[in-house]
């Protein structure tokens, strides 16, 4: 018999706030986290802004722990893991630690350190390279540091699928709860802003404002949008067996109902909108919950102000929900956070879980001037409404798409 998996803790380190309460307050009040970049010099660059977590301070986020060895990616995710553990009110002891696993979605996290490591060796010879940094040049240490710092030992792993990473992490993480290998899994994703993650999007002109003369702005589904704005985040939720959660009196934010994914190879090389993969993923996820599209109340959209992704998503939503689309409460929270790539679905899951728990749906900002081709309803101020189900949607520029259905738990 398949166990029910619920979310009992939300650990979120984001440009709109660190910690569940700050995150939720700023999100529902429509406050943008997009601001001038401080992590590197942008004076020679056409794009100047990102969803950077400027207030992040690793020693403050991880008191009493040695954080100097960790790169920013590891710091963000460890801070998020701690917030998740604290939010779930988990007592870490000899009994609980072996029953807690770690599954983190990340794709580009090691790029900055690998690049610095290699460049320092190119300039100064291999003797100039830092042994402590060597560990940070590889992706697995992101999850590894969570295990080392918190002593949780059921398993640790990273999983990479670009924008879907957090979703795959949550789904695969949940499978370890269902199989009984773990009572709880710290699952989610992380991505940090760096010169490298910036360049990988800036040089091909994917970022808003990267073409000279263009305005730099973030308006999902917006008219005249010209690209997305980079973001960063660490988003770690605590997945827990339902009976185990009830047994210890845990707060349950939402239930992880079902997951759907699809890969459309035509979309891989195409620069045109592609809605097939997301349509299939959402349809499959909804069906696996034993639900129909009419049962879905809220869509946490992945739209990020990119020309192709937003159009693809709008079309997919219409495909799946038809006329029901106009009844959906849709939020594009990347309007406030920017695009945190591997962390994005994790951030969306945090927001959607809060929406289900609080009965408040966060807005989309900068949505006054709409692209008529993106025919989906949006709202610019939070809505108070009790909802029962939400779907988190993700599209990757690589042709992958994923969707996760979350349900309210009374």
């Amino acid at each position: 018999m398949s166990k029910r998996v619920v979310i009992t803790g939300l650990g979120i380190v984001s440009p709109v706030g660190i910690g569940r309460e700050a995150f939720w307050s700023n999100l529902t009040n429509g406050r943008t986290g997009i601001k001038p970049i401080t992590l590197f010099d942008t004076s020679e660059l056409a794009c100047k802004t990102a969803g950077e977590i400027t207030e992040f301070d690793a020693p403050a986020a991880l008191p009493g722990m040695k954080t100097g060895a960790l790169n920013r990616t590891a710091q963000l995710v460890c801070a998020a893991a701690k917030l998740g553990l604290d939010d779930a009110r988990i007592e870490l002891d000899a009994a609980t630690k072996p029953r807690i696993g770690v599954m983190i979605g990340n794709t580009l996290g090691s790029m900055h350190t690998a690049s610095e490591f290699d460049r320092s060796a190119l300039k100064g010879g291999f003797v100039a390279a830092s042994p402590m940094d060597f560990a940070n040049t590889i992706a697995i240490t992101t999850a590894g540091y969570i295990s080392v710092l918190f002593g949780v030992s059921a398993f640790n792993s990273v999983i990479s699928s670009g924008e879907l990473s957090s979703l795959n992490a949550i789904e695969y993480g949940a499978s370890f709860v269902r199989s009984g290998h773990a009572d709880m899994v710290l699952a989610g994703g992380v991505e940090a802003v760096s010169m490298e993650t910036f360049l990988i999007n800036y040089l091909p002109k994917f970022l808003s404002g990267s073409t000279p003369g263009q305005r730099e702005f973030c308006a999902p589904f917006g008219n005249g949008r010209n690209g997305f704005v980079l973001g960063e985040a660490g988003a770690v939720v605590v997945l827990e067996d339902y009976d185990h959660a009830i047994g210890r009196g845990a707060t349950i934010y939402a239930e992880v109902r079902s997951f759907g994914t699809a890969f459309d190879k035509q979309a891989f090389y195409s620069s045109s909108p592609h809605s097939i993969a997301l349509s299939k993923a959402m349809t499959s996820a909804i069906k696996r919950s034993g639900l129909s599209p009419d049962d879905i109340d809220h869509v946490s959209a992945c739209a990020n102000s990119s020309i192709v992704i937003d159009q693809s998503e709008a079309t997919a939503i219409r495909n799946v929900f038809g006329a029901q689309t106009d009844q959906l409460h849709i939020s594009a929270i990347k309007s406030m956070t920017g695009e945190p790539f591997s962390a994005s679905a994790g951030v969306q899951v945090c927001a959607a879980s809060m929406a289900l728990h609080e009965g408040v749906i966060p807005p989309t900002i900068n949505c006054d001037d709409r692209d008529p081709n993106c025919d989906v309803p949006l709202f610019s101020e939070s809505r108070e409404i009790k909802i029962k189900t939400a779907i988190v949607s993700t599209i990757s520029t690589s042709g992958l798409a994923g969707a996760l259905v979350l349900g309210a738990v009374s």
Binding site: P98, I138, A139
Partner: protein
């Protein structure tokens, strides 16, 4: 409903001792060394510069001209290995797209791409970076290329768990089949030699200068390698229905982790012990059922000592009677490809009833006193085995394979 069972019906390998399943197997049994002076990039500044470089890979034998142009080196290895595996499975394209998935393992993906990016950045400035390189870098694109080759539309993931990534990819794929999400999963690992590995391991004195000598008293460290392996994982039902050749069953997958240190293993072997016990538990196998262990066996002082200790903790007196050899003695440590290549070897070991040796074994270490199948392959019927993989971050993953006869 009983959980579905997972079997291996196809094998594809790119290795330093042979390209393709047959050449690879012949090399294993012959105790062939694939170690040479690495010339994939300039190694002149490194004290230790030997490794398991793949030398016989001819891209045009496996890939179209278009693919060779578009795909960076790790993706080329991955797609080539996948093609060989699928051909070996004789699925003949009978893969239902939505029920076919791809799961690969690596360390960081395209190491040579980031290195080229860095070279240009340092010498000419970042504005000169070729956009094609940036498009090739994100590692999740590698399994996507494999998916495109075969029209797979199910989950497509990369697991960058480095030294245990192959086992994790196979574990992920097995889970999809068991939970009825997929009927076929192309699962494996892929890696190319990286300057970063040479810099890091040389700098931390963890690399051997001449040869890889797992469990030997005078072992000096690991030797970086490269390659790829892909297994066709299939549901037992489907495999039997189509009369597929079955190498072995993926009986179980055990995971745990040390929490001791970000790079070094827990000296008590706790994570390795727990992962082994988990592998036995998930497969329903008992210690006395195990006929062979494919060691992680990197040839570093800590790993081999801890792995031996962990084996004794799990198996007790039985440990001395279970042969345990390290394929890394022949091909080096191919990191993200390693445990996938070793899983391929394990499937062939069950099929052929022969165990490959640990080569370069000259002097026993009192701390490593098990049967490491020194220097020569041995005939040995293997009905059940374990394959160990331990990575940075204390990550431990053990695969259990069982014969289906």
């Amino acid at each position: 409903m009983p959980e579905r069972r997972v079997v291996i019906t196809g094998i594809g390998v790119v290795s330093a001792i042979g390209i393709g399943k047959n050449a690879f197997w012949q090399g294993l049994i012959a105790g062939k060394s694939g170690i040479s002076d690495v010339d994939a990039f300039d190694t002149s500044e490194f004290p230790c510069r030997r490794g398991g470089q793949v030398r016989d890979f001819v891209p045009s034998q496996h890939l179209s001209a278009d693919a060779i142009d578009r795909l960076a080196p790790v993706a080329q290895f991955a797609v080539a290995a996948a093609k060989m595996a699928v051909e070996d499975s004789r699925l003949n394209g009978n893969m239902e797209p939505e029920r076919t998935s791809v799961a690969m393992g690596t360390t960081n993906g395209e190491a040579s791409v980031i290195e080229k990016i860095c070279s240009v950045w340092v010498q000419e400035g970042y504005e000169q970076i070729d956009p094609k390189l940036l498009k090739q870098y994100p590692m999740h694109l590698i399994p996507a290329h494999v998916a495109m080759e075969f029209g797979a539309e199910g989950p497509v993931v990369m697991m960058p768990n480095a030294c245990s990534a192959g086992n994790w990819a196979i574990g992920f794929g097995s889970n999809l089949i068991r939970s009825d999400e997929a009927d076929v999963v192309l699962a494996g690992g892929c890696e190319t030699l990286a300057r970063g590995a040479f810099i890091g391991f040389n700098r931390s004195f963890a690399m051997a200068p001449e040869m890889c000598q797992p469990f030997d008293k005078n072992r000096k460290g690991l030797m970086p390698g490269e390659g790829a392996a892909v297994l066709v994982l299939e549901s037992l039902d489907q495999a039997q229905r189509r009369g597929a050749h079955i190498y072995a069953e993926v009986a179980g997958f055990g995971v745990s982790c040390d929490t001791y240190h970000i790079t070094g293993p827990d000296p008590t072997g706790r994570g390795a012990v727990d992962a082994t016990i988990s592998a036995l538990k998930t497969s329903g196998l008992k210690p006395e059922d195990i006929d062979y262990v494919s060691a992680h066996g990197t040839g570093t002082k800590p790993n081999d000592r801890v792995e031996t200790l962990a084996t004794k903790k799990v198996f007790g007196d039985l440990a001395k009677r279970i042969p345990m050899s390290s394929i890394k003695s022949m091909i080096g440590h191919s990191f993200g490809a390693a445990s996938a290549i070793e899983a391929a070897a394990c499937a062939l070991i069950i099929e052929n009833g022969m165990i490959p040796p640990t080569i370069n074994y000259r002097e026993p270490d009192p701390e490593c006193d098990l049967d490491y199948v020194a220097n020569e392959a041995r005939e040995h019927k293997v009905d059940a085995l374990l394959s160990n993989a331990y990575a940075f971050g204390g990550n431990c993953a053990v695969l259990a394979l069982r014969a289906m006869r």
